[in-house]
Each structure stands twice: as structure tokens, then as C-alpha cells.
Symmetry: C2
Subunit: 199 residues, 2 copies
DNA sequence: GTAATTTCTTTACAATTGTTAATGCCTTTT
DNA sequence: AAAAGGCATTAACAATTGTAAAGAAATTAC
């Protein structure tokens, strides 16, 4: 996660893609031309609930989250960090209204591509279908692991796994956001942390 | 879900694929040659925990589930019905040991393809990358909807949604399996059903 | 058709979480 | 520097779920 050289955004991006499949210079040229670098301040909402997700964002620096709103409470569905593609994925793929908001949690350096540009790029660079397939598969695997943790583990176990797996996020993300991501209230997370600290 | 004509397994399969992208006869020939029809009795385990998933299975008839085992209790992660690809997907994609078991819940008619045949088929029919991408995306979307339901809804609401969305499964799947799929115990589901019936 | 097994329901009790509200801490604003 | 706002902690209580065990109902097996 920390292996990304923040100073060379396009280099990082190419490295990430080439972990999936090698790209020749012509392919890389077409890809890099269609992704737009952007700097976004903390707490910016890139896609809002009720809107259609225009773009997906490769993360060079920073973290983002998606959250749902239920009775004016924000419930975090996922936290994205460096090297991932952040998006309201369902909305982007289906081009339908999103039921989630995509928000930066820190100042971010991103590479953005909108939906129609991506469709064009698929035609220009067929290998991108493979990359997109693998990215979709990886996101599925990720989602399934989280879901299985909700089925198999207690909130306390889930917190344990989270802090082992993403020790960095524990520092960078407010606890009430982590709590909702784990499927519990901030109060309950605080109790769990107290319980653990007594051991 | 019930729109599949059970008597024409290959026809159903082609229809499903062509909802994603049209296939010419040569492509279809290569695809259909590599998928093997098989009939499997109820309660057969196609992939077992600890093994590597050799194949994925298109479902012409019947239902299957994946389940995890925790302290000798089986916890259902997903229920597959007609028209879907059933698999221990993570294990199949990564060719690593599965932490879940794939099991038929009824006598099933399936079309199977193993991992190496699929890799060959990707080369023979590049359009399959698109199909695989869309299948992965759909499975991700599905998984994310389930996860969001765990974050946002109570078990009772989850049961409601399940019975509205899959009224057929309510009849065909034992309740203790549905309970674990919803993330609760059979006892708790029984209480929820009683609570609902009083309304 | 009867026995055996599995599944579902019910009960009582323990444990955990949600809810609400109050307090203290920390960061940000002005 | 003071004020304001957001965040984390703690407490008390209500509600829900998990656990364990027993009995009823339904399926499966012989």
C-alpha cells in the first residue's frame, strides 16, 4: 500500500496495470492520455447519493470512502487507499443513480476517467478488458472477504482483523467511520476497544 | 430466474451469454465444446473446503450454495439459482485452497468448465474476457448489495427483502440455511418469523 | 409403515449491542 | 485566547440476539 511513489503518479499507475498484463508503449500512451490527473481536497464528494457516477478514480495518494445514508446517519461501505480504483462502482457500471456517496478522507491525488472515455479506451486498447476483468474480480474477492467476516466473526474479531490488516488506516481514519464500516455504532466500538485494552 | 428452458441447456446458456455480447457461430462452437454438461444429485459437494476449485458451473437447473465452516457449524455465504455461474470464485480465480464448500441443494443440471480450459478458451475467444468481466462485475454488485444490507438493515428487514426478492428460494431452501445466509441463527429466524406472522 | 434423522419451534437465561444522554478531549474557527 | 464544533468515552437502560436444551413436526431411510 505504501509502495507507491507519490511523486510519479503515472509511473505508479502503469506499474499497477502492468502487474495484471504488460502494456506496449502505444497502449500505454492511449491509456495515459485518457486518465486525467486531479488534486482533490479532504472531504470532497466526488459522487453524491442520487447522482450517476461519472468517473472512476485511481488513487495515487490519499484515502476515500463510500458511505450510505440511513436516517441521516452516514454508514461507511468501503475505504479505499493508494493503488486502488475508487468509485461508486455499481452506479458507474450500470450508469444508474448511486445509493452511495464517494468522499475523500484526505487531500488526494487521483487519476480520473469518465464512463464514455473508458468505453472508447476499451476499443482502442482491447487488453483493457483483461485489466477491467481482473480489477472486477479483485473487487469481488475483496467484497466477499468482508461479507464473510460479517457472517463468521463477531464485531470484536472484525475490529481485530481490521487493525491487523490496515494498521495505517487505524491512524488515518476517524473511529466512528471505522465503526460503521465494521457494522457497529461508535459507542460499541469504544466498548470493544476498552475490552481489548484490558487484556 | 424461471425463464430458462430446462430441456435446452445449451440454448439457455447461449442466451445468457448473448445478453452480454453477441457471439458468432464459430465463437459459440468453441465455447460450447469446452463446457461439459453434467447431472449432479442433491447434496453433492463440487468443491470442498481446503481444496482448489477446479471448475465453475453454469446452472441450467437446480440450486447450489457455498458455505463456510466455523466450529463445525455450516454458514451459508451465497445461494445460486438457475442462470448463474456457481463456484468458489476466489479459489477458482486465484487457484488457491478454498475456505468454502460448493454444494448442490437439489438435483442439478450444470455446464462445467475447468480452469485450464477456460484459459485456453480466453485465447480462442477474446470476447470471453468481456463476458468474464461482466460476470465478475455482476457478482461484485450482488455481493455489495448483500453487504450493504448487513450494514444498513436489521435481520428482520433482511429476511423481508429476501422473501420478497427470492420467494421461490423460501420454498426450496431449508430455513436454517437461509438463517445463516442472513447472518443469524435458526432460532432467531424462527423468532422473526413468529413476530412477522403476528402482524 | 415404522423407525430414525433432520429440521423447526419454543423456552429460559446470558451476553452483546443499540439508544440516549452526559462528560471530557481535541481540533478548528474566529 | 476564547468559543465552537466534532469526536471519543462512559453510563444506564431497553431491545435483540446467541446459547443450550427440550419437544414437536416433517423428511428420509429402511
Amino acid at each position: 500500500m505504501e509502495r507507491y511513489d507519490i511523486e510519479n503518479p503515472l509511473l505508479n499507475f502503469r506499474k499497477t496495470l502492468e502487474q495484471i498484463i504488460p502494456l506496449n508503449d502505444s497502449e500505454w500512451q492511449m491509456i495515459s492520455q485518457r486518465f486525467n490527473p486531479m488534486e482533490v481536497p479532504k472531504r470532497t464528494q466526488l459522487t453524491k447519493e442520487g447522482q450517476i457516477a461519472t468517473s472512476i478514480y485511481f488513487i495515487n495518494k490519499g484515502i476515500l470512502r463510500i458511505f450510505y445514508t440511513k436516517e441521516d446517519v452516514e454508514i461507511t461501505g468501503f475505504i479505499f487507499s493508494e493503488g486502488l480504483f475508487a468509485s461508486c462502482y455499481e452506479s458507474f457500471l450500470l450508469q444508474t443513480k448511486s445509493n452511495q456517496t464517494l468522499e475523500t478522507l484526505e487531500d488526494c491525488a487521483l487519476l480520473a476517467i469518465d464512463h464514455s472515455s473508458l468505453q472508447t479506451l476499451y476499443k482502442e486498447v482491447p487488453a483493457l478488458h483483461i485489466i477491467a476483468r481482473v480489477v472486477a474480480e479483485q473487487r469481488f474477492i475483496n467484497g466477499q472477504r468482508i461479507l464473510s467476516s460479517h457472517l463468521l466473526d463477531s464485531p470484536e474479531e472484525r475490529y481485530h482483523q481490521f487493525s491487523n490488516q490496515y494498521p495505517g488506516l487505524l491512524q488515518r481514519v476517524p473511529q466512528h467511520i471505522i465503526a460503521s464500516y465494521l457494522g457497529i455504532t461508535p459507542v460499541s466500538l469504544s466498548r470493544i476497544r476498552k475490552r481489548i485494552s484490558r487484556k
